[in-house]
Symmetry: D2
Subunit: 304 residues, 4 copies
């Protein structure tokens, strides 16, 4: 019988939930990677790069509503319910140890959100990010072709307060995501919202942007830091992907999220082998692009 | 609002379930590809190769217990319960139309299997393959390091009869998988089992082999066909991957399953981007290996 | 091994889905009973009353959002997601044969509803009732203490059209529930909505009332029937519970739903034994109020 | 918006899991009641009886495989998988605070059990009871009509050791249930097993009996206590239901489980209203046996 112990299996919901705040205390910047399946999460947990005698790792997982939806072949409109996503995260937690930040979309109705916050805590999720949109949610990266509406400051601040009041553990974090730059409402609006959300109890602020340049989010960070030197700032460099992690941390960000690359990397690899198998009528020609069966033995404890 | 109609959404459990038998009537050989997620299934459903004015497609999906377990970071020992796998298949069926063959491992206890057969039918699964092993299941591809026991012919034939008696739709297929060649019990044992299982009501026979050469499964097919010219024969050319689909069909096989390549292709692609992101501190260097965000718009109906 | 066959296990999603329309063709009025668990559904399916040489049975199940929520200890505000309720219905379908009408609350956003309609069809649900409220849903029976808003006729008609366009089987029914009488918007508003919803494609109309007297719903039925003699009319006599099934059918109703009595009957029975067990320190005094263990043997096939 | 706080919602998996050991430290005997749904669990949590100025409550919940199966209309043969039962328990935990003991049947294969133990811990379950049977499980209360086999002492002790080695929290309890008296293997066999299972690491011993008299389990407790004065002893007085809680505690038992009465009480109450509704064609005659709709408002926080 296998009694080999994956270190991840020793992590309880309580210790995992607390791990994000502990890491924020210890490190200036955290590097978070999108995971959409236990397999992708295992790869992230084991990934390492050695540079100058130092080994770099990822600090945690990002559960993205975009990749969770795309994996299921569904539109990213909050159609895939949080409960389905929580079930999938539970399976990730079965075999890993890193903390996880959850993409909560708009958070839904406040009366529902207060229940989901407690469910997220019980599962061991460390933080939930909710965005200040209203109406049918569409992914920010798809631009403004679909008209999107931003919630009023008062309305969204009330949602933050309700969620924070519902929370039962001290370590769970609710992070407010500001869509003002995406919706071209301007920097002042973004900052006014950030201040108000922080005052309402948000444990962190995420500023989003669709520009190729990081200038506007760096300006946001500089001006936000003048008033709030400590509240964690979060960015997601999907559009502005030439700025480095170290530069973002130097610019005032505490959490950098690579939000969808694991799913996006798996896609062309799967897509490419299919016409080849159809052409040659066998898999011989694609085998060198596939994990060997033997590798599974090393990856999954208890398989041998 | 999106009213665009994915053709798959028009498929009911009843019409999908019946589709495999209909295809077996129409075509000499069916080409089946492993799908472990709605996204991988969508790719398979859309894949095509044009040769000599003819377009080749895949005919259906294979739900593999090996890739379902590996995706979840769990050993392939029937730990991931059929119900969890059925839930995942339900999500695949939400967005696709092709029929699906289910890898049922040993089928579990006959008293449980009769319920699972009905659940599989209700879901719209077309066929379940069960293998004649007993005790804690280990994947055949991992060799004989872990001692495996084969069920007796009587015991396994009784399981087939129980499952067939439980079935309520005429089109559902129960396929018996023979492990005699894997366990080195010899060709005569394999054939004796095949005849007995067919007599017990199996709707198809799958013969498995770990050899690099297809000779033994071709011999099996030839000798089986002498007695049973019509019962569908299934093979899974994972080890003997230089023989082509057309050669296998010429050799007497009706269903050829490429059993795990989609998951195995996604793995190295995801694995490779991680150290690069850690090294460069950004995703710029891996973007060309990732699906563009825009591609999601074309893939998922209702996303735009 | 148990090979005994519960008749319910022979029902496929397709045949069950179609059964409601077939019954509506055959019978003038259908009597539908709330079921919140497989056990309660089994009891309903087996219940019978003999009168004058004729045996009366229930014709189908009602899946109530009120009892589904209450069973889970959650408020009836669409917090319990349709997917959770579908999973529970799937378990009911595993062991029964009668058709089921699903209480779909407001139906949620139209962009989500079109997916849920297809999921309901695939499961074998025969009909979904959606109500013309908007905003956070509160149960109608709780009165108007919580302000509730009715959707505009145009908005709700559009939702009906979207749902009907999404449907893939001919037999699935979408029934529109009108809250005008509950919200005191008047009979003319109720009728105007009924006509508009019928024109938008609704396969039936449910009229709801909180009055102790059935007069207003009977007036509604009479006036609706002047224009639409055939479209099925549905009522839920929870408040006006002295009018009989036969009188409602004579008044023009085709489907009468007893919407929550199974859960409401189970509650005081469970509640009553607890203080007795605490008082006597044993179960002896409550045994005669409990099903005997032997009865389970008769109820559940395969238990013996 | 409802901001009312049910005390149960403040309970985390960690604090709930630990609560059973804490109660065992504080109290001589714990009184545990079967719960099969959040509603039944809410009733148990609120139940009280006042006697001589003292208020008696239940100390925790029992999740029974018999009632979980019967509720689903399925035979009690481990067909309903632990994962399905865990999902249901998760919903109970959403709205309650008491600790829960889980009926783990045989525990299944040791290679699977080690995973299920960790899942149970993560959920917040305090204890799992596994019984020393082997082969297809049948409920002990149904007698010996179905031949049942007991696992060997060595085999079951190995299973206990594997489960205890897998456990990651100090407070989770694995309790060994002995079937020797049920299977008429004699008192000496029961005691030899109890000693061996305790030595293998079991955190408690449950002794089961089908006799109408408690004599044999009291003899067992007396003789077990001679060697192990401290290890918690568990009994389930289903057959011998005239002995009181206080007498069982005086006899050496620490945990008394009323194993199935909530479901058994709900059954005749639901069953009885059905022919009446069919006879009278309305619910008027059964209303006084039903919870009033208004009571739901008091029961469920956030409903009003």
């Amino acid at each position: 019988m296998n009694t080999q112990r994956n270190s991840g299996l020793g992590r309880t919901p309580g210790s995992r939930r607390a791990a994000l705040r502990q890491l924020l205390q210890k490190k200036k910047g955290l590097c978070i990677m999108e995971a959409h399946s236990p397999l992708s999460a295992l790869l992230i947990e084991k990934a390492a790069f050695n540079a100058n005698g130092e080994t770099r790792h990822f600090d945690g997982f990002w559960s993205s509503s975009l990749t969770d939806s795309t994996l299921r072949g569904k539109p990213d409109t909050e159609l895939v319910h949080m409960h389905h996503r929580f079930d999938a995260i539970n399976e990730i937690f079965d075999v890993t140890t890193l903390p996880l930040i959850f993409d909560g979309d708009t958070g839904g109705q406040a009366e529902h959100l207060i229940h989901h916050v407690r469910e997220a805590e019980n599962l061991g999720i460390s933080a939930m990010i909710i965005e200040d949109k209203t109406g049918l949610k569409k992914n920010s990266l798809f631009g403004n072709e679909v008209p999107q509406t931003q919630a009023s400051i008062e309305e969204f601040s009330a949602k933050i307060r309700a969620a924070k009041a519902a929370q039962v553990t001290p370590e769970f974090m609710l992070i407010a995501r500001i869509e003002s730059l995406i919706l071209e409402a301007g920097m002042d609006d973004a900052l006014a919202r950030a201040f108000s959300y922080a005052d309402a109890g948000a444990d962190g602020i995420m500023i989003h942007s669709r520009l190729k340049s990081p200038d506007e989010i760096l300006e946001f960070a500089r001006r936000f830091r003048e008033r709030y030197p400590r509240i964690p700032l979060v960015c997601v460099p999907t559009s502005f992907n030439d700025i480095t992690f170290d530069e973002l941390v130097a610019g005032g960000f505490n959490i950098v999220i690579y939000a969808n690359h694991m799913l996006r990397a798996s896609y062309p690899a799967m897509q490419a082998i299919l016409p080849d198998i159809l052409q040659y009528g066998r898999t011989l020609e694609v085998e060198d692009r596939c994990m060997s069966i033997k590798e599974i033995l090393d990856l999954i404890p208890g398989t041998r």
